[in-house]
Amino acid sequence: MPRLTRRRALAAGAAAVAATGGLPAPSAAAPGHSREHGHSHEHGHDHDLGHDHDHDHDHDHGAPEAFDEVYLGRRIQGRPLAGGHHHGGGYGVFIDGVELHVMRNADGSWISVVGHYDPVPSPRAAARAAVVELRGAPLVPLT
């Protein structure tokens, strides 16, 4: 499995991204994220948002943990939701308070309606990918 090899190779990078997780400030973005401000988010997207360091610890452990941070100037939050029908398996993701429709794939990866065809390892990665894709635009609330 080349994936596993790459994951090991990028373990340090993955840890760096994870370490930015709970910091409630715009500066929470890891160094690699600054590239996204320069409109060359291609590589930042692929590497920082995790095609290689797949499977956060949420895989096989029920709902992933909650998160709450400011990423590139947007507040992103994720948390288990009580009641209702959510395709994230009872987990909700919000950008500036508006719910982002997310879905968990059978292999534990995640997608959102803003990045539907490009799975990432966690709901936080889906929220970050959506922030990059939105370039400041507000989400349309789910109806």
Binding site: H45, M103, A106, D107, V113, V114, H116, D118, P119, R135
Partner: protein, 274 residues
């Protein structure tokens, strides 16, 4: 009889007529109903629940019927129009004629991804995006911006070589032809093309970009090519599968058509290569 042609072979007049029919469907509001339907299935189809349009065996017949409906709408505007297909293994550059101003227009500008040329640029006033997941009302693209190339013919051939149509668990984790063509597993064909185009094509409201239809017309053609290579292989599953459309089960949202009714495209259209 409708003949679906390779987009690269269309005459200037064929391109002009197709564009005019698209713009007229948009003006009348009929276009956006297709975007709404697609996004409803994108959000509703799940690996562990009912799944019809995506991540399931019926991905292919569902999109075949969806495109037939759309093509009939185009033909109600101009009966000479057929959906062309985009062979992204051959026309794999943002410089392809597909993206010229006389057809779909090109990539978006770096600042905000906005498409600035062609008949679907927001500045024409002819292509307002009303079915959206975010606040932006203009067509966006970032052709090749994700840093991954379009699939190659060799990658397509490796998927066409898979003789089993689909396999349990009949979702994004499946082995077999359907899921490799859809792209949740393996070399990734269909999904990767959505990502390569970027903009709305990478979202649940991907039919906002007219290239959606040309992409899916080629995915549909690859299904036909697969059938020709594997005449003894049929649609699966054939019965009794929870949450999944079996061969003879009706498909939402039409409820009047089964995968079995859609296996032979020649009942509806032919390809220029047939």
């Amino acid at each position: 009889m409708t003949v679906r042609k390779n987009q690269a072979t269309l005459t200037a007049d064929e391109k002009r007529r197709l564009v005019a029919a698209l713009v007229e469907l948009k003006r009348s509001g009929r276009y956006d109903a297709f975007v709404t339907t697609h996004n409803a299935f994108i959000m509703g189809d799940t690996d562990t629940g009912p799944r019809t349009g995506h991540r399931s065996p019926s991905f292919l017949p569902w999109h075949r019927r969806f495109l037939i409906e759309f093509e009939r709408a185009l033909q109600s505007v101009d009966s000479s129009v057929a959906l062309p297909y985009w062979d992204w293994t051959a026309d794999r550059s943002p410089r392809s004629s597909l993206w010229a101003p006389d057809f779909l227009g090109g990539t978006g500008r770096p600042l905000d991804g906005r498409v600035l040329d062609g008949p679907f640029a927001a500045s024409t006033g002819n292509w307002p995006l009303t079915v959206r997941v975010d606040g932006r009302t203009y067509l966006r693209r970032s052709l090749g911006g994700g840093g991954r190339d379009l699939p190659t013919r060799a990658e397509v051939d490796s998927v066409l070589a898979m003789s089993t149509y689909d396999m349990a668990p009949w979702n994004s984790a499946s082995d077999g032809f359907r899921n490799h063509l859809e792209g949740w597993r393996g070399v990734n064909l269909h999904n990767r093309v959505h990502v390569w185009v970027g903009g709305q094509m990478a979202t649940g409201v991907s039919p906002n970009d007219p290239v959606f239809w040309l992409h899916h017309a080629y995915v549909d053609k690859l299904w036909a090519e697969w059938q020709r290579r594997h005449p003894a292989s049929g649609y699966l599953p054939t019965g009794g599968t929870p949450d999944v459309v079996d061969l003879e089960e009706p498909m939402r949202p039409w409820n009047d058509v089964r995968p079995a009714d859609l296996l032979d495209h020649r009942a509806y259209y032919t390809f220029d290569t047939d």
